[in-house]
């Protein structure tokens, strides 16, 4: 079977409906000059008349898409190789009558032109054209206002295609504008959307009811909602959701981006806004229409002062929205990620009647987003979407698509080195995870790059490690067990103990082992010379942490950060205000509405009948939707007692100075990378280092190594035992027995 190469149509053939073939192929198919021929291409088909190529070359095909399937109009086929059996000769009898829809360029033409004139013009244009049922005739080459003709039905209907002659009757069923027709066409290729089913269903219902059943609502005497406000952080898919839902409902969409409307001269912006509403109104005459105001906060900021130009724009929008009456069948959707900066007058029923909050996706939502994104990629079956969803806490839809793109790029890079098949494996995703960070943490205070630390890298302290694992790792790993025993995840953990005993390192290891997000704050991040700024920053930090839950929030040196109310002399200091913010955030009344997130409601509604893993995942979601606060201090007596009660910092863990065994373990860990001489006796060192903290021991090893370099010049190969002893003699332990004693007395006393 020979293949044909599809070339673009010759300019002189445009509008002729010809299909240029080589003469041999024509005679092989039994075609004469001017015989109708149906060419099927991916996505549709095209009716042409066969003609020989003037250069007689075989193996090429050039066709004019005068009569083709509707789907080919937005995306004409190009650069295609096709088989000869795609071409089928068809018989085309003369038609008696046809029914058509006329698509015209502008609404004003539709309004002002008499139907008899349109009929006359269309009939002239269609004479001598071969048509196929359900096809669209492209009349753009005539260069008039009439752009397309859609074939609705033909008579006699025994044939699926036919020829229009001067005697064929033409019946125009309706006239549409190109905009409306194209938006109808586009809805057939809508983008897929994952994880927003709940929101999109409610939005769809809101759109469908008034747009499709206006009569019912009228008879009930209900005025239908006119405006919907979508609120959510950037990248969750607000714009995409609107496009999708509008496409599903079959409405036409008009998008207004805030900055596009704003003009430089006074009054210009208002005029443009009025024009937009006018356009929406005329579009709504043809069918349901949605006016989408993207980035509404830039268009309608909160009104301030008396004469700023934005005030007039806001007022214009308000009056326009009030001026919509019931006969205007269009709906306004606004989208913003900063609902608080909108003018409050906009957010009342009658203007934006409903507010739909789209939060950062939960784990289930992330999984469905990932599976939608990966549906078109050759993903290796070993890739576990569930695990990916688990590791991408805090990622929004845009981040996930960036992640998939990065993973695909990794695969391409690897492939270009010439190895392996073209599939995406788990390691590509893992590499991508390092590059693509969640965008809701991007501008966060506490975002830290932390080098992974494993539990094994910390010597001793087995009890503490176990306790930490209980409070951080277990709720993630065994959520059902927690639910079964009615346990809730601890809200907070306080680590206290003498300085240098690996409190910070312990937290780092805990963050590494649990795959949750990790935020760390110090005083430098929070303090600011402005009154109220620090509190705001802390509250913002908690909000971000909740957006990407499960999340571990680490407050190092909490005593200096927060302070205590009981000991402080100044009751109105920054410390006390910060403390009150922290107390509120840890155990407050509730969340702000803007932070609402997806699945909670579903979980309570349908608990049974789901598979086991699903249930487990749901459990984990529910148990871990809070932020875990981990604080560390070496002055526990300075903390406010309200902070230490159960429900806030539930687990108070004492990190003791290392005992003998622990010191041995620490020394082993410290000397693992050092070339230590065979005669070095670590046990001996352990007995001599009473009251030494972990940091001291690490310093000891470092000193010994430096001493070795000092005495044996740079040639030193091993560290001898004497160096250890020498440096031990120079050092003093940083802890004292009395200090340890104060730590060991109970906190409450």
């Amino acid at each position: 079977m020979k293949t044909l190469k599809l070339l673009s149509v010759d300019p002189s053939d445009r509008g002729s409906q010809r299909c240029r073939l080589g003469p041999e192929l024509m005679s092989a198919l039994g075609l004469k000059l001017g015989s109708p021929l149906l060419v099927s291409v991916p996505g549709g088909s095209c009716l042409c008349i066969a003609w020989s190529r003037s250069d007689m070359a075989e193996g090429f095909l050039q066709m004019d898409l005068k009569c083709c399937s509707p789907s080919l109009i937005p995306h004409p086929p190009t650069h295609l190789h096709m088989d000869c059996d795609r071409l089928t000769p068809v018989s085309c009898p003369k038609l008696k009558t046809i029914k058509i829809t006329v698509v015209v360029q502008s609404a004003s033409f539709k309004k002002h032109t008499s139907s008899s004139l349109v009929h006359e013009l269309v009939k002239d244009m269609l004479k001598g054209v071969y048509i196929h049922e359900k096809h669209v005739i492209n009349l753009e080459d005539f260069d008039t206002e009439i752009k397309y003709v859609v074939i609705e039905g033909i008579h006699p209907d025994s044939a699926s295609s036919g020829l229009i002659t001067a005697k064929t009757g033409v019946e125009i069923t309706r006239i549409q504008t190109v905009r409306h027709y194209m938006s109808q066409l586009r809805e057939e290729h809508t983008v897929s959307l994952g994880g927003l089913d709940e929101v999109s269903a409610s939005l769809r219902e809101m759109l469908q009811l008034p747009l499709l059943y206006p009569g019912t609502l009228n008879s009930l005497g209900v005025s239908c909602p006119r405006g919907v406000l979508l609120v959510g952080p950037p990248g969750v898919g607000k714009t995409l959701l609107v496009r999708r839902v509008v496409g599903d409902v079959g409405a036409s969409l008009m998008v207004v981006r805030g900055p596009e409307v704003v003009g430089s001269r006074p009054g210009e912006s208002e005029e443009q806004l009025r024009a937009v509403f006018e356009r929406a109104r005329s579009a709504a005459e043809e069918g349901p229409c949605v006016l989408f105001l993207d980035e509404l906060d830039s268009l309608c900021p909160r009104r301030t002062g008396s004469s700023s130009p934005e005030n007039r724009l806001v007022a214009q929008l308000l009056t326009l929205m009030d001026g919509m009456d019931r006969s205007d069948r269009f709906l306004i959707i606004g989208a913003t990620n900063r609902p608080d900066s909108l003018d409050p007058a906009l957010r009342r029923p009658g203007r934006f009647d409903r507010e739909v909050v789209i939060g950062a996706p939960t784990m289930q939502q992330r999984r469905s987003i990932l599976s939608v994104l990966c549906a078109k990629m050759p993903v290796c079956p070993s890739v576990d979407m569930m695990e990916l969803a688990q590791r991408t806490s805090g990622y929004v839809g845009a981040d996930l698509s960036a992640l998939c793109r990065e993973a695909a790029m990794n695969a391409i890079r690897e492939n270009s080195k010439g190895s392996g098949a073209q599939t995406l494996c788990m390691n590509h995703f893992q590499d991508a995870l390092k590059l693509v960070r969640p965008s809701c943490l991007r501008s966060s205070l506490g975002r830290t790059e932390l080098s992974p630390v494993s539990w094994e890298q910390i010597g001793g302290l087995d009890d503490v490690k176990l306790k930490l694992r209980q409070s951080i790792e277990w709720p993630m790993r065994f959520p059902e067990a927690f639910v079964r025993l009615g346990l809730s995840r601890p809200r907070g953990v306080l680590l206290f103990g003498p300085p240098g005993c690996a409190k910070t390192t312990l937290v780092r290891a805990a963050a590494t082992s649990s795959h949750s997000s990790f935020l760390s704050v110090s005083g430098a991040d929070l303090y600011s010379p402005y009154v109220g700024d620090s509190e705001k920053a802390l509250a913002q930090l908690f909000r971000q942490a909740r957006a990407c839950a499960p999340c571990v929030l680490f407050l190092d040196e909490i005593d200096s950060l927060i302070g205590s109310r009981s000991t402080g002399q100044t009751s109105s200091g920054v410390h006390t205000r910060l403390l009150s913010v922290l107390l509120n955030e840890m155990d407050g009344v509730g969340l702000k509405t803007v932070e609402r997130r997806g699945t909670e409601r579903i979980l309570q509604a349908e608990g049974v009948g789901e598979c086991h893993t699903q249930e487990q995942m749901d459990c984990q979601e529910v148990c871990n939707k809070d932020v875990m606060v981990v604080a560390a201090t070496n002055r526990p007596d300075c903390l406010d007692s309200a902070l230490l009660r159960p429900g806030r910092l539930d687990h108070i863990i004492y990190v003791p100075p290392p005992d003998q065994q622990a010191r041995l373990a620490i020394l082993k860990v410290c000397t693992r990378s050092m070339p230590v001489d065979a005669d070095v006796c670590l046990e001996d060192l352990v007995t001599n280092t009473e009251l030494y903290s972990g940091a001291d021991l690490e310093n000891l090893c470092k000193e010994a190594a430096l001493l070795a370099l000092q005495t044996e010049n740079m040639e030193a190969r091993v560290i001898k035992y004497t160096y250890f002893l020498q440096s031990l003699r120079k050092m003093r332990p940083s802890l004292t027995a009395q200090q340890i004693h104060t730590y060991q007395t109970p906190l409450t006393s």
Partner: protein, 205 residues
């Protein structure tokens, strides 16, 4: 070359192309007669626009009774006359289109009549002086399409004029002129050049 089918098609083609030559002349002359008419139409529209802009009662002309209505009537009458003349020209353009259409479809019908004796080899055979039948048929159809498009566009320009939209009438001469592109008219000349040897050679027979 010598079969009766081929020669009959050739004769019909030759006749059609001669006709096309005539038609081109008629078309051109009709168009040249149209352009002054359109100019005057545009002028009239401009005048009536000016009339609606001016407040006659503020001018010395206020002493004339009913001046505005009378002027408007006169202008409309003049426009009607011009449009009537244009319509005549349009019908002569239409007759050109119809002639070419009938020729093109006639030759195609003749070809279809002889299609059984004319295989593709015969249809695509060509020589230095005689283009192939397929090409010539194509050219004839191209010419027909060209005239149809031109006629429709011009008709649409004239038919869509409305009294209540004077700026549309005012801009009609420009739009009319923009339809005349040199390249489009050249394609007819090109076609005639391509078949000039064919037309002369057949004459001797």
């Amino acid at each position: 070359m010598s079969t009766p089918a081929v020669s009959s098609v050739h004769q019909a083609l030759q006749k059609s192309f001669k006709n096309l030559e005539n038609c081109q002349k008629v078309w051109k002359s009709a168009l040249t007669e149209c352009s002054p008419l359109l100019e005057s139409l545009g002028n009239l529209a401009e005048q009536s626009k000016a009339l609606s802009n001016v407040q006659l009662s503020d001018t010395p002309l206020r002493v004339f009774p009913d001046l505005e209505d009378r002027l408007r009537f006169k202008l409309l009458q003049a426009m009607d006359t011009v449009l009537g003349k244009l319509n005549d020209k349009l019908s002569s353009l239409q007759s050109v289109r119809d002639t070419i259409s009938s020729h093109a479809s006639g030759v195609l019908q003749l070809y279809e009549l002889h299609a059984d004796s004319l295989d593709l080899l015969a249809v695509t055979e060509r020589s230095a002086t005689t283009p192939s039948i397929a090409d010539m048929l194509g050219w004839l159809q191209d010419a027909e399409r060209h005239y149809r498009q031109q006629f429709l566009r011009r008709k649409a320009v004239l038919q869509m004029l409305r009294v209540d939209n004077l700026s549309l009438v005012e801009s009609a001469p420009q739009r009319w002129k923009s339809l005349e592109s040199a390249s489009a008219e050249d394609c007819i000349t090109d076609i005639l050049c391509k078949v000039s040897f064919f037309m002369e050679s057949e004459l001797g027979k």
